[in-house]
């Protein structure tokens, strides 16, 4: 092992050596710089590997041959090694990235860079508090120099502001250090740690030291200077400033917080959280990419600092958690800044230019995912562990605030990403510098590698070793292949996995697996209609399916949550692909992440600190033990799941997301994705049963939510002019039924819900494909612009026809089975009033469905549509499969349901349904699907024959052959009654569709935005004001601490 001090020696030595290089030998100087950085990185990396493997012990490095505390000593342990690797690698990559700027300014700039990296490493290594100060000053000065690399003239002002603030910081730090020394007789951090400081007495010294270090972390709101630097500095340097400086400063602060003793932790927590939340909120209003990233950096560091404040409860997991967030952030932020250097414009939408290079888009997506803490990146594992630790110690407020902040961050980061994917930019495509792209790719690779490593260290399964996830990621490599090849692989993969795992499924899993995996494969058949390579489709799609596959088989709470996040990510990117999908994808991801956070909180609460727990037995255990937290667990999980089922109140993402999605995506996200929420709810009610908060039975609340969703979803569907939106709202309604059935907490209710799982998948997929096909041909989704397509698109018509019969519950198709079960279920329930809502929504479903079929296929054909052809055959094939399935399921519902029925019986210990032959008998009634089908069929045929016997001589006339107000109309457009089809209904019950929910969520986001806009005026841009703010911060915290300590 090479001693870690060589990192410092090499950095410094090379910096000095550069002075000897002739000024015009810039290439040589650069090579030297890079070589030095490479050596430094290698040393750090070598230590990291060796320490991780346990082949070496953490080492203390003495200087001057004297033991600490009498001489400065350095220490390298696992944490230090990791951070050194991050810092030096960032420096190395940044050097490559800034090659042009460095060469322009010459060897001096290169020396400064080397010293910067060296000093950051020193900051991490040193165990001496004054030495810490020296390295700090080096960093400050080097930063002052590197800011000048920017070609932005404003950077000079930013650098000056930074220096002003740094002066104040160093004054505070020095005073703090000297009094700490006086109190302790030592400058060695370990010595200081040996005698923890209370918040009283000598604490003022420690307070000053800590405050100085905290100020280096850019606490909100004393951080305007940092943001100015982020905005104006060279992006290569911003990467260092964020990834390396932030990381090192945080570690320095951590060292001293650890030394200061546990009494200080709450204060750090508060500062960290305040920063995290404040900066994230402020970031909402940023329209400059680099400033936005700056806010995000500040926020993330705040988050880690808040985690530092939790070190007392994290125990051994502390490094895993804090390091996970910190390192992920470093990699992601460096990567993002490097990308920003490739983008010519500074507006957020200017990032649209990245679309010229799919690799960069992938990188952008990965970095965003890293920042937000999504799997498979370290932040995800860290978040999981953190929440469990917090829940285990009852720190619920911290949990809530962290999650809230993370959600806000997700909000602007995903909005940003959405802009890049969907917006147009005025900037011309400049061509990307290969070396800069290479640097970004290196960061990208590092991010994924870290994900792998963290997954490996984690107590929980490594997501990057799970077959479904790997299969999905395989498509990254397969991207160059044509779409049809990838499609075949995808279908084979889905069916194959199902086949392979089938034996392990219980009946419930079987149903969901069949719908999600086999069902997914069927929908994918439709995807054959797409030509070309369809870049960026298969990875998210398969990620979503991977998540679903894992969700079904999840054994532990962690498995479940990870799968949930995976499918959320996949589906987000999928939805974003839709034509006008940007805002909807954003609201989707926000609601989904919000939901996911609630689920996380719920699991954490349920775990009581021990994680992960076996999902089913764990949840039942806390329910049986009547743990006080149990109802809250139930509530959190239920709301979380309902974000996916889009129950009313949480539904506003759905219509747009489904309606704007691509033709084959709509059925996936509607027919399949929503079922994930249902599956979750199933597990929840199965394991936890009825939970009460106070006297309120939560399942009854769910019944109400389901009923209201069913009603309002339907009512809103009635008034849609857009066919896909209509279907989307109908999904809200249908899922409302399912939630309702589930929440009835009786045998038939659950069966009802399961039946909806199957039915809704089939007919909603079918209808979406049909409507998608029509959209492909007509180019519009607005129903009043269509009409009379029945003869042109007969197959599509048939599937819509069958679909609406099935869905509206008219016998003899399978929808009726659902209704029949529904009546039987409510008969067994005590709740009456919510039934009323469900009764109303039944016929309403009939209304919108009729409208769908009528306005598209009947009425008058428009002139411009006269030459349309049937929908593409690949769209029709799955539809026909669905038609057959519906007919089959109508006749033989027992096929799928009988086993499940028995399975459900094991939960309730009853068997209310008797399956005799082909008839089903319940406590209250009976139903013989085959008989119904036969009777109706026979009558129908008989009547038809009767009609035909009365003459087959009907003369076929065109639809337009009508008389209208005693005139023959001359324009089909004016004769198609379609717009505002249910006008009377709107007059009567239009008040039901007042967008209260939308208004509510709109108000929430508006409030956040205006808060952000108001608060950011604090940052006047005046360096002096910033200095004042820094002092105000210190004094305010001082007064608060003083107040708190007395």
């Amino acid at each position: 092992m090479v001693s870690a001090i060589f990192i410092i020696a090499v950095g410094l030595g090379t910096a000095f050596l550069l002075g000897l290089v002739k000024s015009d030998q810039k290439g040589f100087a650069f090579t030297l710089t890079v070589a030095a950085l490479a050596v430094m990185t290698w040393i750090a990396y070598d230590w990291t590997v060796a320490l991780s493997r346990g082949t070496v012990e953490p080492a203390t490095i003495l200087t001057a041959g004297t033991q600490p505390p009498f001489a400065i000593n350095l220490h390298i342990g696992l944490a230090e090694a990791w951070l050194l690797t991050v810092i030096n690698a960032t420096g190395l990559l940044a050097a490559f990235y800034m090659r042009a700027a460095l060469c322009r300014l010459g060897k001096g700039a290169m020396s400064v860079l080397l010293v910067m990296v060296m000093a950051l490493s020193g900051l991490v290594l040193t165990r001496d508090v004054f030495n810490l100060f020296v390295f700090f000053e080096l960093i400050v000065i080097a930063t002052g120099g590197l800011v000048l690399l920017s070609e932005d003239a404003r950077a000079v002002a930013a650098g000056f502001k930074y220096l002003v603030v740094s002066q104040i910081v160093s004054i505070l730090l020095l005073i703090g250090i000297i009094f700490t020394y006086h109190a302790n007789g030592s400058l060695n951090i370990d010595d200081i740690a040996a005698v923890p400081f209370g918040l009283q007495g000598a604490s003022l010294a420690m307070f000053l030291v800590l405050m100085a270090l905290v100020l280096e972390l850019k606490p909100f709101p004393a951080n305007g200077w940092a943001l100015d630097i982020y905005e104006s500095a060279h992006p290569g340097f911003s990467a260092i400033f964020s990834a390396a400086s932030g990381t090192a400063a945080l570690f320095a602060a951590d060292k001293l917080v650890a030394a200061a003793g546990p009494a200080w932790l709450p204060l750090m927590t508060v500062i960290g959280l305040f920063t995290f939340l404040g900066s994230n909120v402020l970031a909402l209003k940023q329209d400059n990419d680099r400033r936005l990233l700056g806010y995000s950096s500040v926020a993330q560091i705040g988050l880690v600092f808040a985690i530092v404040g939790q070190r007392d409860i994290l125990g051994e997991g502390y490094l895993f958690v804090a390091g996970g967030v910190l390192i992920t952030h470093a990699v992601a932020k460096a990567g993002l800044y490097w990308i920003s250097g490739l983008v010519p414009g500074r507006g957020l939408a200017d990032w649209a230019i990245l679309r010229a290079n799919p690799v960069l888009v992938f990188a952008f997506a990965s970095f965003v995912a890293m920042l937000v803490g999504l799997p498979p990146f370290p932040g995800f594992y860290a978040k999981w562990d953190l929440m469990h630790a917090l829940a285990g110690s009852g720190r619920f407020w911290i949990m809530a605030l962290i999650l809230a902040g993370a959600l806000v961050e997700a909000g602007y980061m995903f909005r940003f990403f959405g802009y890049a994917i969907k917006r147009e930019t005025q900037e011309r495509f400049p061509g990307f510098a290969v070396d800069k792209v290479a640097v970004v790719v290196a960061a990208l690779a590092a991010g994924w590698a870290l994900g792998f490593v963290w997954g490996g260290i984690s107590l929980n399964p490594n997501l990057l070793t799970l077959v479904p996830v790997l299969f999905a990621l395989l498509f990254i490599v397969l991207e160059p292949l044509p779409a049809w090849v990838k499609n075949i692989i995808a279908i084979v993969g889905l069916v194959g996995w199902f086949w392979f795992r089938m034996g392990n499924y219980d009946p419930l899993q079987m149903i969901f697996a069949a719908v999600m995996l086999v069902g997914g494969a069927v929908i994918l058949i439709a995807s054959f209609y797409e030509h070309g390579r369809r870049i960026g489709f298969y990875v998210p799609t398969m990620l979503m399916y991977a998540g679903l596959a894992l969700l079904i088989e999840a054994q532990t709470s962690f498995d479940f949550f990870a799968a949930w996040e995976v499918l959320t990510i996949g589906s987000y990117f999928l939805i974003l692909r839709g034509r006008m999908g940007e805002p909807h994808a954003l609201s989707y991801i926000l609601f989904s992440l919000g939901g996911a956070f609630l689920i996380l909180a719920g699991f954490a609460l349920a775990s009581t600190g021990v994680q992960p727990f076996e999902l089913k037995s764990g949840l039942s255990a806390i329910a049986e033990a009547s743990v006080p937290a149990a109802p809250w667990v139930f509530a959190l999980l239920a709301v979380g799941f309902m974000t996916k089922t889009a129950s009313i109140g949480l539904h506003i993402w759905l219509p747009g997301a489904h309606a704007e999605a691509e033709t084959d995506v709509s059925p996936m996200v509607s027919g399949i994705l929503l079922k994930a929420g249902l599956y979750g709810l199933f597990l929840l009610v199965m394991t936890m049963g009825r939970q009460k908060i106070g006297s309120i039975d939560l399942t009854e609340v769910l019944v109400w939510i389901g009923a209201i969703s069913a009603l309002l979803g339907g009512v809103m569907a009635i008034f849609q002019e857009d066919a896909k939106r209509l279907l989307a709202y109908s999904s809200i309604s249908q899922l409302g039924y399912a939630v309702f059935g589930l929440a009835l907490m009786n045998h038939v209710g659950w069966l009802l819900a399961l039946m909806f799982v199957i039915n809704h998948y089939i007919y909603k997929s079918m209808l979406f494909l049909a409507v998608g096909g029509v959209y492909k041909r007509t180019g519009t989704k607005l129903m009043y612009k269509m009409g009379g397509l029945i003869t042109l698109m007969p197959f599509t018509f048939v599937s819509v026809l069958i679909g609406i019969i099935a869905m509206s519950g008219v016998p003899p198709l399978s929808g009726f089975g659902g209704r029949w079960l529904f009546y039987n279920a409510i008969m067994a329930s005590d709740l009456r009033l919510p039934m009323v809502l469900i009764f109303i929504s039944g016929p309403i479903g009939f209304l919108y469905l009729f409208r769908l079929i009528h306005t598209i296929f009947f009425g008058q054909l428009k002139d411009e549509h006269r030459k349309l052809k049937e929908a593409p055959v690949w769209l029709v094939i799955p539809q026909m499969m669905f038609v057959l399935a519906l007919l089959a399921f109508a006749v033989l519902p027992g096929m799928a349901l009988q086993k499940v029925d028995a399975y459900i019986g094991t939960f309730f210990g009853d068997q209310p349904l008797v399956w005799s032959g082909r008839a089903i008998t319940s406590t209250y009634g009976y139903w013989s699907p085959v008989a119904v089908m036969v009777v109706i069929g026979v009558i129908f045929v008989a009547v038809l024959l009767l009609l035909m016997s009365m003459g087959l001589n009907a003369q076929k006339v065109k639809q337009f052959n009508i008389v209208f107000s005693a005139e023959r109309p001359f324009k089909p457009q004016t004769t198609h009654f379609a717009w505002n089809f249910f006008a009377p209904y709107r007059k009567a019950v239009g008040f039901l569709v007042m967008p209260l929910v939308t208004t509510f969520w709109g108000a929430v986001t508006d409030t956040l935005h205006s808060t952000a806009d108001f608060t950011r005026r604090l940052y006047t841009g005046n360096g002096q004001t910033y200095a004042v703010q820094v002092l105000v911060f210190v004094v305010a915290v001082y007064l608060i601490v003083l107040g708190g300590a007395q």
């Binding site: 004054i171 020394y181 104006s232």
Partner: protein, 119 residues
């Protein structure tokens, strides 16, 4: 008593310097403020090491090696201050260079003129 008075002097200098840095809009005057504050910090640092009735930490003929522990004052703060002084100079020089660059950019030394970056 002696160290307290020196210390108080140092603190007063720090506060005065900061006041100058926070209120003068002229960038050069701000820097002057900071140098005064830096000097104040140095005074405070040195005063902490002072032990009444002892001599400088130089073990020459006046202070035999054997008596050192009871005769000299604490050398550590002095060592720190030496470092701090030099660092202070470095930062001051840097700020001055920046001041010049800022002046070149806008022909003004008024800090409130450099607020393009904000919010």
């Amino acid at each position: 008593m002696l160290p307290q008075i020196a210390m108080a002097t140092g603190f007063v200098l720090i506060l005065m310097g900061l006041y100058g840095a926070l209120t003068h809009r002229n960038i050069l005057r701000m820097i002057v403020g900071f140098t005064i504050a830096d000097t104040g910090v140095n005074v405070v640092l040195v005063s902490v090491g002072y032990l009444p009735g002892r001599t400088a930490p130089i073990l020459d003929s006046a202070v035999p090696v054997a008596d050192a522990a009871t005769r000299i004052i604490d050398p550590v703060p002095q060592a720190l201050v030496l470092t701090a002084i030099v660092i202070g100079l470095g930062v001051t020089a840097l700020m001055l260079a920046y001041a010049y660059r800022l002046f070149r950019a806008r022909h003004s030394l008024d800090i409130s003129n450099f607020t393009e970056l904000k919010w």
